[in-house]
Symmetry: C2
Subunit: 319 residues, 2 copies
């Protein structure tokens, strides 16, 4: 199979990191970028060495050389752009949160299947070696049963006042970081059943700037989570097994983890390749498309839909 | 004022630590111990150099030399012993959880006031220098506003199968450690208003062996807590302010804390005197009695009652 050519939607701040990850892969490359103004596209294309710059998204979708569209514009525009890209039979990788409602997730995945192309939410945490290490530990029970998880992702926002992160219907801690935690948990536990409770705090624009969610997974595992854009906190995922604990700092991009053994003071630090963290998801997209899949068996439509449901439900309690 | 003489109820495992703390104070001393068998009392009295050993609790209450009764037997016997000690006009310091229901807390504090003697729940965490440091930081706003707390207390139980810790009406994580977290939070925030949500997991005897509780204090501060006897976890209290974070390991007995500053990589470690942690509460009891108080202004009846209410409510959802 020839290399997969990516067309990028928007010149947002995540794009340089995505392109540097593309450049590290063997089977995928960046072909074009489209944003609302040609000037912005050209500037970023020059900086990142992208062959084609367009002054519209449409030109990316209609470029016959583009195999995969990577959507990275603001959250409330994802759904429309996904449907347009799919209508041109492009494969789609869309940044998280892929959509803001379960209904949109269902429509998008159904349309991708109909068009015979691949669609996945870009939840890079699902494919990291650190995540796989924890998943393997859960499944093999090598440290005994998993008994508790505590996980948080928080940072103090320093965006301009008119930034979309302060728009309540698409910004804040829940839309901004909720999917990191929820989807990582659902991937690790193989899309388990759950009950949950959520508490929220609202910022000045009515956006959820702080949310704590606790889960009971499979009626057996209590998990405490906390997400915030009010304050900077430690961003750690702690997995407590019967015989050891695994902790990961910045779990959505980490290249290492720590295992502490309960029967002594000993611990191990596991290190993984120091490459851009999005390489793993890009390689997964390649594998899926290469196998003719329309959906990922790991970052599955069910996980995206369940996460969208949960975020939508919590959001609705605040409006 | 002459030294306060303590009479101890029960020969439980906490007693040696309490006596060693008494021995470190200037104004209080141990005078007697009573347990259900004279042999147990004599054995512990010899080991800990306690002048009088009794084969019943009654002999402690009727000993005219005893000023303060310290109650350390199992949780579901506290209320009866408090009422007996108070009926003999003894001051009472009772281990946490002082009682298992709000009703019992109300009755006990009302009776103490009626008898003109002092009654307090032995929540040593309320009086630690580490707790005071955090309380002072909250009040002075020296690190800005407090924006988030994450706190947990968990340890894997290794008690014999027939231990009272596995009795659902008085054991497990909620009765065993719930008051540590809840009362520390209420003391730090000056008995704030709150909403809460709780999730529980039941152990083999139906006891709550895992509970996550999230709070919204004063409709402004979201707090995530997790308590467990299912598994060993890190036991850390993290206080996130706008400009710095304070973290305390084993916050209910710690002699140090760490302050991490958000604007740089710098941190400070604060160390406090390496004395038995119960010294601070014993000194507070002395001060209160010396001033003729029947209740503590810090570990107040309201805090004990609110905590008992909350624990009782959570417990009732499981039976």
């Amino acid at each position: 199979m020839k290399k997969l050519r990516y067309g990028i939607i928007s010149a947002s701040s995540i794009v340089p990191r995505f392109v540097s990850a593309l450049n590290e892969t063997k089977h995928s490359l960046v072909h074009a970028i489209g944003s609302s103004t040609l000037k912005r596209s050209e500037k970023l294309a020059k900086k990142l060495d992208i062959p084609n710059a367009y002054g519209s998204y449409e030109e990316v979708y209609t470029d016959p050389e583009v195999d995969v569209v990577y959507i990275a514009n603001i959250n409330d525009q994802h759904f429309e752009q996904i449907m347009k890209a799919l209508s041109h039979k492009k494969h789609v990788l869309c940044e998280k949160p892929m959509v803001l409602t379960r209904e949109h997730a269902q429509q998008a995945f159904a349309f991708a299947k109909e068009q015979g192309v691949f669609l996945m939410e870009a939840q890079k945490a699902a494919f990291l070696p650190t995540t796989n290490f924890v998943k393997e530990a859960i499944e093999s029970k090598k440290y005994g049963e998993l008994k508790q998880i505590q996980i948080s992702a928080s940072y103090a926002n320093r965006f301009p006042d008119d930034h979309w992160m302060y728009q309540k219907h698409q910004g804040g801690a829940l839309f901004g970081s909720g999917s990191y935690i929820i989807e990582t948990l659902l991937v690790l536990l193989d899309n388990p059943s759950y009950e949950y409770q959520a508490m929220t705090h609202l910022g000045q624009s009515g956006e959820i700037d702080d949310v704590s969610i606790q889960f009971n997974f499979n009626k057996d595992l209590l998990v405490s989570t906390h997400l915030s854009t009010r304050v900077h906190t430690e961003n750690v995922a702690n997995f407590y097994f019967e015989q050891a604990s695994i902790s990961i700092n910045d779990f959505w991009k980490s290249r290492k983890l720590r295992v502490d053994y309960h029967d002594n003071e000993d611990h191990d630090v596991m290190k993984f390749p120091n490459i851009p963290e999005m390489v793993y998801e890009i390689n997964h997209v390649y594998d899926c498309i290469h196998e003719g899949l329309t959906e990922s068996p790991i970052m599955s439509p069910e996980i995206t839909m369940n996460t969208a449901s949960l975020v939508e439900e919590i959001y609705k309690t605040t409006v």
